[in-house]
Each structure stands twice: as C-alpha cells, then as structure tokens.
Amino acid sequence: MLDFQVVTNPALIRDLRRAVGAKWVLDAPEDLIVYEYDATIERGMPEAVVLPDSDEQVAAAVRIARRHNVPVTARGAGTGLSGGAIPCDGGVVIATSRMNRILEVDPENRLAVVEPGVINLDVSEAVAPYGLYYAPDPSSQKACTMGGNVAENAGGPHCLRYGTTTNHVLGLQIVTPEGDLLWLGDKTPDPPGYDLTGLVVGSEGTLCIVTKIIVRLLDRPQSTVTLLAIFDEVDQASRAVSAIIGQGIVPAALEMMDRNTMRAVEEAVHAGYPPDAGAVLLIEVDGLEEETREQADSVRALCDELGARELRIGFSLEDRERLWAGRKGALGALGRLAPSYYILDGVVPRTKLPAVLRGVYEACDRFGFQVANVFHAGDGNLHPNILFDERVPGATQRVLDLGAVIMRLCVDAGGTITGEHGVGYEKRNYMSWIFSEDDLEVMGRVKLAFGTGGAFNPGKVFPSSKGCGEVSSRMKGAIAKAGPDAYV
C-alpha cells in the first residue's frame, strides 16, 4: 500500500534502459522515493530515475523523455536549498552522480574541465598540486556537485571577494531540449557573441542540462588569516560588519552566526563558543603577506572598538580550519535543535542588516518559532533557519507563512529573495515582488528561445498558479498574509 501514486510508463522505462543499461534506470517505488527530497522540506516523486555515464547518454535520455512527453529534472547530490532537484511534475530525474570525472586540468591556462557530478571540493583538491583552487565554496562543498552549483549559481562564504559560480565558469557543454549536445563559451575568457554561458549559469535547470563545465581556477593566495570575533549582541556584530567594509577592507569572507546556531555548532564540533554570547563573526582576509597582516590588524582593532568580548586568530591551515569547522557544519548541526528547519535565503543592503535581523527575530517570536541565523554578513545575504517539527500538524504551513513574511521584510528593505540558493520551487511566487509583469515576460521569452517549454525542471523559477497544485494554493495563502501590497 502506497500513499503516493507512481505513474508507470513501461515504454518509457524500456527505452531508457535500452539507452543507459538496465541497472541504471530506477522505477521501483521504494527506489524512487529516495529521489523525492533534497535538503529542503519540499517533496516530489519522479516516475523514473536515470543515472547516465556520459554526455551522450544524457542526450539520449532527454530525447526519450521528450518522445514520451515527460519532463526532465537534473539532480546532482540533492544538497540544494530551493527544491531545484525535486521533480515537482514527476517525469524523469537525471542524476549525475556517476558523471564525476575531472576530464582535464590545465594549470598554465588556469582552467579545468569537469563533468557535472564532480564534487565541488574535489576540484580544488585535484588542482592543489599546482597551487590553484576553485573559488566558490558553498557550505556543502564536501558533498554538492558542480552541475548543481552551475544550475543554482551557487555562492559561499568566499563569494564576498571572489564572486559566485557565474564568475568562475568559462564554458558549458549542454543538452538542448531536442537532445542535441552543444558548447556554449569556450576556454577563452571573453568569447564574442552573446554570453549564453552566463545565461545558463543560475537558470536552475530550466533551460538545458549541463554535461561538461569549463571552470576558471585561481592561484592560492600567498597568505590567509582567519579571525573569529565573539560578541554579546547580534547588533554589535552587525555594526562590526558595516564598519569593516566601511574601512575599505574587502575580506575574502565575512560570516555571522547567532546564539541558536552557536548552540547547535557547539554541540556538534565543540568549537568553544561561550554559551551566553550573542553572535560570532568569522572574518577571513587573504592576499599578499603584508596586506593581510595589515587588514587583520585593522579588523581586530575595529572588533575591539565595537565591543567584541573575545578574538581568536588563525594563521596556519589547521588553525584556520578549526575556526571554520563550526561554520561549515552549521546547517546540518541544526538537526540537533529541532527535527526540521526551513532555511531562507534573502539579501538586504549591508547597512540594513541590524534592522532586518531585528525584524526577523520579532516575526519568529510572533509566529512562535525559534530561529537560527547563520549567514554571509559581508554581502548582506541572510540565512534565517526556522526551527520546527514537521510532524506537528499545521507547523509546515505556518513556517511557510513566516518565511513569506521574512522574505517580504528583505524586499521592503530594498533587498531581494535569493542570494545563492536559487528561486526554485518554493520562492517562485515571490518573483512578482521584485519583477514586473514585463520583466517576467522577458524571462519567459528567453525560456521560449531555448525551446524548453515545460521540458526541463517545470514548476521552477516562474510564478505559477498551476503545477504542484496543492502547494501553489498554499503559497498563495502565504503571500496573501505577507501584506496587502504583496503583488505590487
């Protein structure tokens, strides 16, 4: 007895098996069910999962899905935070976990060619012998895939200084909706013609499926210093963020964690955070030896001035990794505080951080939920994590309502609805808060130009009243509650 329907289409399964081998096509409900989730609270069951081994096999799978008129959703490691890999209209999931080869490393030209299933951190490890690394470093970098990073234009702590994925991708091999393989961009830094590579990065799997990625590599900085500053109050820490950037220092990373997050992290990695502290800032500066030492000194002085109760500093790799350990595992550690969390991804102007954070705490209080904030303070990219128990009837709905309220706070403060996780499924209806009908129309035309229609990752990015039916009415409710001018 199943509480979900699996649409079975024997002809589709047979064709897929012929294309990629029987072993690499899943259609049993007990196999499909583990492809209904990612790291969010969204769910959607595919009707088949394909694990191709090559670009040709991806193209073949796409052709077959098109022939059977079912949508295709690409999936990397399923660590995404906007429901991007969830097949909300069913159809075929193409999982890239077997396409995990680093095809070429070209140290002279500072680039590498990788398959979409390669793990983010593996790229940096593979090129480390040449003194190079791949800069974007999402917190899930030990697990997330390059394909997923490209789709969501993933960020990470170090994007403050180095930019997000889009600044590090030179070219892409893609599969079109017709199932053809073609290259966008190449190994040159600025190819002529339209920047189609830039268009595809961050398109959340709605335009094409990426099968090869040419990434830019950077020289490892000569020197890196990590500072950890502990504050009594979140407000103090927020002011320190503005002060540091106001001084003209652009740290490689500037991260904040609040009390709840510190509590979870402390349990997980025993970082030695005082239990009564209000917030911790993690500041990393890198560059030439002299420069970093100067900047570290200024940061230290500023934090002192603004009332930091404790400062730790790490120069060696081991010391720095120890300081970072808490931040990198923070999200998963939240499982220690509550069975579920709902992570939000809003952006606000840096100067508005203290006010918006206060608003976030107030809203959570009003809704009766605990919140843990862990985020990229340097670029104003907030990640409030609402802690709840999804087994409590109605809790999920109220959390989504609260999420809408918080998103609205960000937008009202002059910010936007996503910094790095993508719009995906859950935030698509907020798109109309920041884009006019005309803006969305233009985006829709881009999608038409690629000829995808609903072929790739349907139900994502664009506001829609149809799709995963029950949920979109749910979203409408949430948006209605967010304010009378929600649909400006």
Binding site: S97, C144, A333
Partner: protein
C-alpha cells in the same frame, strides 16, 4: 505520527518497523535533515552513485517503511542489507544521527517480521549456530586450517572462475590461542592493574598470535591479564545482522563472566567487539536484571590501543625497521572515535616509519561477514583499498581488528603483493623484543 487520511490496510500495521520491540525511535530518525554531508563518506554510495545506497537514502527508506509509505520489499530490504555498517556517516554527521543504532534496530525489525531474504536468514542461522558456539567454531576453524594447509586454498585461488569466489574466506593458520581461562600474563614488577581480555569467537583460531602479543604487551606495561572463564562471542556480528535475541543472550553471558572477573578494565583487541561491548548498556536496556550491570560493564571496556595510549607507555627497547601504513578499523575510528591512539603507539616504536594512505578510514570491505554476503561490493572496496595501500609503498599494513586483517590479507594475496598485515600490538610486541617477562 499522523497517517494520510484514508490510509489503512491490515498488513501495513503489521509491517511498521516501529511496531516491534526493536522500535527505531522517531526521535532518532527525525534527526536526519537530509543535508547530504554524509554522501561522500559512504563507501556504497561512492561506489554506486545511487541514493538508495546512501546513508541519507537508507534512513529515508527506514522512515518510509516505519510510516507505512512503502513496504519492506526485497528491494528495500536489499538496500538496508548492502550497508556495511561502517558508521563513517555517523562520524561525519553534523546533526548527530545515531545511524548505527537505527540500522541495527531496522534490521532487527526486518528479521523479526519474517520477510527477510533467504541469504540473510541463512547468515543469521550460521552466526547463531556456529559463530556463537565455541565448539562448532573450533570445528569450522579446523576445516579452514586444513583448507589452507592442504594447499587447496593455493589451488582454488589460482583457478580463474573460482578465485574471486573464495579469496575472501578467512585464513586460519598459526597456533591457536590456548583456550585456557584464568591468568594469562603477569608483570615482572608490581602490577599497575588487572585487566580482563575478551578472547572472542574467531580471534583465538585465526589470530591467536595477536592475543599472545596483546598479553605480552599488557604484562610489559604492568598489567595482570586474565581471561574470565565462561565468556563467549561478544555478539557484534549478531547485532549487526539484526539478531538481537542471540546478541542479548551472548551479552548476558559475558556480563556475568566479566563482572565475576572483577577487573579494572576489560581489554578488547578487536574493534568490532569493543564497539559492541561498549554498547552493551543500550543492548540490554530493557532487561531489568541486566540493564545496570551491562551499563557499568560497558564503561570498563577499552580497546587495547586506547588503554595503552593512555598510559605512560613503557618505551620499546627494540626497533622495527619498516615502512608501515595504518588502516583505521571502522568500528574503532567511527564507532569508538579512536584514531590517534593506534597512530601514537606506532609512532612510539623506534625505527618504524608511518606513512598514511589516502582515506585510511574508508572501509576495506571486510565488515564482519559482509565480505561473504556481498562479495562483489566487498571486492570493489578491497581493490580500491589495496591501490591506496600500494601507493604508499608500505611493506606492512597495521590495523586493529580481525575482520580488517583477514580482508587485507586476502587483498594482498589477490594482487600477489608482498607484505604483512599486523595488529598494532604485534608491532609493539616486536619492538619489546618479544621479551619473555610475563608469559
């Protein structure tokens, strides 16, 4: 837990995992927030690329079965069965999901609910009727000894079709550890303490030399070593296989035997056994007569490397000139979180150079009887492991668990590589110059 409206069916009620006495707790299961940080640490996920063979996927399957969303079909049970229970995921989980406990509970439910695959049931029968019984174990060991001594093994491992099918069978050679109980070793000077040694099921037959080395090294470090009479197999393999009744029966016997011994510590030189004995409190939590005793006893259990590394170690007098690489036994590094103690002991040996292999804490594929039950996966993992070992150039692989030792020995034979597989205490013993004091 709320079930979807209109959801019913008599068979579903029966097959809910949480329904049974081995109940996987809701609190344990809901700790997983499916962040995915376990994936790259899971040997079966990285080998297959399948979410169904990942820790996150398996937890989700267990949950889905518990909630009645899917049935415990052979496919679903197969995914649970392919897990090595290496618990690497548990060690890296930021959320602290007690994966080992959940998987053991889920397997116990699967086994209790009678839809277990035949191979699994046969395995359980073998574990209960042979491994848990010293007499039959000795007979099996005698057969394996003959298999090797007669040259049959040599032959079988050279026949192409047969080779892969037999290579993982454990080797039994060398002297059997005398099955005597009582005092095994005494220190020359005054004793630092008295420790009780778990002799175990297969160790005395396959790795008697490790026990002998353990006794000598402990005596050299000032311990009187006793083997409490009446002790049996620790029950680790039974727990892992889901046979909790047998595991509990064995645990109760051992609790009696070791309480009687009244030692300062219980020393285990097999990581898998140590891990299970440290969890005796949990295993017998529902037994009013044994719960407290088991909990107290569990607190006394120490891996031999853990005990020695915590001492002012008697400095080794002799040298062991060798390039050694260390394989972390999963149940030492992940289940017991001990990884620096064995390395510390190795580094204390004059002449010995320790060279780390890539991913030393990745499972070698041995995993108890896993190598016999899932030969293909086991061989795949072993192949990767031997490549990592070969890349170090080491001539010796040190580890701290009989399952790993047997598996790594098979790996060396499979690739016709020279080299020795040793327990950490054997190297320490060699460094002590096999001093006669004590035995």
């Amino acid at each position: 837990m709320d079930r979807p409206a209109g959801f019913s069916g008599p068979f579903v009620r029966q097959r809910r995992i949480r329904a049974g006495p081995n109940a996987v707790s809701d609190a344990d299961l809901s700790r997983c927030v499916h962040c995915g940080l376990c994936l790259q640490h899971c040997p079966t996920y990285t080998e297959t690329g399948l979410e169904t063979e990942s820790p996150r996927g398996r937890l989700y399957l267990i949950k889905a079965i518990a909630e009645g969303r899917i049935e415990a079909t052979p496919t679903a049970v197969g995914h649970l069965d392919l897990c090595l229970q290496c618990r690497n995921c548990e060690a890296v989980c930021p959320s602290g999901v007690p994966y080992g406990r959940i998987m053991e509970g889920a397997r116990a439910e699967v086994l209790a609910n009678g839809r277990t695959p035949l191979a699994w049931r046969l395995r359980t029968l073998f574990l209960r009727e042979v491994i848990a019984r010293p007499g039959r174990m000795a007979a099996l060991a005698a057969c394996l000894r003959l298999y090797r001594a007669s040259g049959l093994r040599w032959l079988a491992e050279r026949v192409p079709y047969v080779r892969d099918r037999v290579v993982l069978a454990p080797t039994v050679s060398g002297p059997t550890f005398p099955p005597k109980a009582g005092v095994l070793g005494r220190p020359q000077d005054k004793a630092r303490g008295r420790v009780a040694l778990l002799t175990g099921c297969i160790m005395p037959h396959a790795f008697g030399r490790v026990h002998e080395a353990t006794v000598r090294v402990l005596a050299r470090n000032g311990f009187e070593v006793v083997a409490p009479p009446g002790q049996l197999c620790c029950g680790a393999l039974h727990t892992h296989s889901g046979d909790r009744p047998t595991a509990r029966a064995l645990a109760r016997r051992n609790v009696d035997a070791f309480v009687e011994a009244n030692a300062d510590a219980i020393v285990v030189n097999s990581a898998g056994c140590g891990s299970t004995m440290k969890e005796y409190g949990e295993l017998l939590a529902d037994d009013p007569e044994y719960a407290d005793k088991a909990e107290r006893l569990a607190g006394l259990v120490k891996d031999v490397t853990e005990l020695l590394a915590g001492l002012p170690l008697e400095p080794p007098s002799g040298r062991v000139e060798a390039l050694v690489t260390y394989q972390d036994p999963c149940h030492l590094a992940h289940a017991q979180r001990i990884s620096s103690a064995p390395r510390y002991l190795l580094s204390a040996i004059p002449g010995l150079r320790l060279v780390e292999m890539a991913r030393p804490d990745r499972c070698c594929g041995g995993a108890g009887v896993y190598s016999l039950a899932h030969r293909d996966m086991s061989l795949d993992l072993l192949d990767g492991k031997i490549q990592d070992v070969a890349a170090t150039g080491a001539t010796m692989i040190a580890t701290a668990n009989p399952g790993c030792m047997a598996q790594l020995e098979a790996g060396l034979r499979r690739y016709r590589l020279p080299g020795r597989v040793v327990h950490v205490v054997e190297l320490l013993d060699e460094a002590y110059g096999r001093s006669p004091d004590g035995v």
